[in-house]
Symmetry: C2
Subunit: 238 residues, 2 copies
């Protein structure tokens, strides 16, 4: 089983949107996949509510919810209420679950909250590799170097985990003139640490989430669907 | 002294951008203002580094940094490193500071991290009023109702604090056809809880932040500057 966590302490950069579409993309490609929602806010859990459509969903797997063909979900730990903060995470129990499902899954995709708190830190220590979504904006590099430094430290603290798979530019708006300049900058600064794929800004992605669907069902020919399909391929072959 | 906190558990909705421009806006309007950066990530602290330009900045105020005319800063508590997580917050000491500066300031503006953790919760309990920035997107209402429920609970737990001043649509992109529909929806659902002001999407805001400046200096005639000027007026008279 290969595992990948979406992590960035910056808020609203597309961690959840990417986690959902990687998980569904791997599943559609025929890989048995689990999506772990480690964010008490539960955005990923909500956004896949209607993903099943007409699929048969009754294959038990260690208490994970079977949500569509080839795809299981570990739902969000919180009821999402901010008054449920301080819900303590049992990392050992989580590692245990990962160990139990490892031989029955091909892929594990993990969504984290922003600010790398306990839940985010747990996500980083149970995943072999990390993808860091980043907005193609001026401000992106500042928080990014901090984030990459933290991941290097994590990779030392948790041998075999938290290795950087790559940085993923998200919400890329080609109507904004500075965007190409920023992508160039990212390539110069990151070299091979920058993934080949880029996720273009596409309101179909937002719309799909509001229907509890992935864009692969909701708008399969949209920019969002095409970009995430590319990313799935890139990570399959990585 | 009037106090306002920017809070929303959702990431990347414009809390920091709004906090900076409210603080600078009040200062430019002649009000003595403090900006408290309660986010260990320190985005606000970084984004005002060059705000001083040529202003005289030497008026001591209880250990706050005098950053430009009429504007003081309580810098971020973290060095921003995610490895500094678990830095414990001393809420009593923070309340103490607020009490000491109250008679020498007209406005206090507080920036919070996403996910209403300890630092966010502290922000909510030291501010009389809360502004909740929200992206004008399909998904916005879901997290918002949760957020407003948490704030109602906070207002009960901390009498005289955490009263909702209003919800502020941010990053409003008039090129997106569904935007007007979403704003209409917000107005229907929220009524008077929705502020009159709306912050349009404007890359000048991102650019200004990358120079450590506010848009009022960097691009004073931009959409971003005009929108935030409107918001400052609305809150001054509220
Ligand atoms: N490529 C895209 N084009 C347009 N909108 C997008 C795109 N990717 C994500 N979004 C939208 O931007 C918002 C933020 O995305 P998302 O929730 O995935 O970010 P996040 O990093 O998980 O946020 P948080 O830090 O709060 O967990 C959502 O409303 C989402 O639907
Ligand atoms: N009106 C706007 N137009 C264009 N870009 C904007 C606008 N408001 C904010 N941004 C940009 O969007 C990104 C997120 O904004 P910001 O950092 O203020 O959100 P936040 O809610 O404080 O995020 P976090 O949850 O990580 O603290 C930043 O790069 C910022 O420069
Ligand atoms: Mg998320
Ligand atoms: Mg912020």
């Amino acid at each position: 089983m290969r595992s990948i966590v979406l992590a960035n302490q910056k808020g609203g950069v597309g961690k959840t949107t990417t986690a959902i579409h990687l998980a569904h993309g791997f599943a559609l490609a025929g890989h048995r996949t689990a999506l772990f929602d480690l964010d008490p806010q539960g955005n990923a859990t909500v956004a896949v509510q209607s993903i099943a459509a007409d699929a048969v969903v009754d294959e038990a797997l260690e208490g994970l919810t079977h949500i569509t063909t080839n795809l299981w979900l570990l739902p969000s730990p919180g009821d999402g209420s901010t008054l449920a903060r301080g819900a303590t995470i049992d990392v050992e129990r989580l590692k245990d679950l990962v160990a139990r499902v490892a031989d029955r899954l091909d892929w594990l995709v993990i969504d984290c909250p922003p600010r790398l708190d306990d839940w985010g830190w747990a996500g980083v220590q149970i995943a072999e590799r990390v993808v860091v979504p980043v907005q193609a904006e001026f401000f992106a590099m500042h928080g990014l170097s901090q984030m990459l430094a933290s991941l290097s430290a994590a990779a030392v603290e948790f041998p075999g985990k938290a290795a950087l798979r790559g940085v993923l530019p998200t919400m890329v708006d080609l109507r904004e003139p500075v965007t190409m300049e920023i992508l160039d900058d990212l390539r110069k600064n990151l070299g091979d640490q920058l993934l080949r794929s880029v996720i273009l800004r596409d309101s179909c992605l937002v719309e799909a989430a509001s229907f509890g669907q992935s864009v692969f069902h909701h708008s399969p020919h949209s920019k969002g669907a095409l970009c995430y399909a590319e990313l799935v391929k890139e990570l399959e072959h990585g």
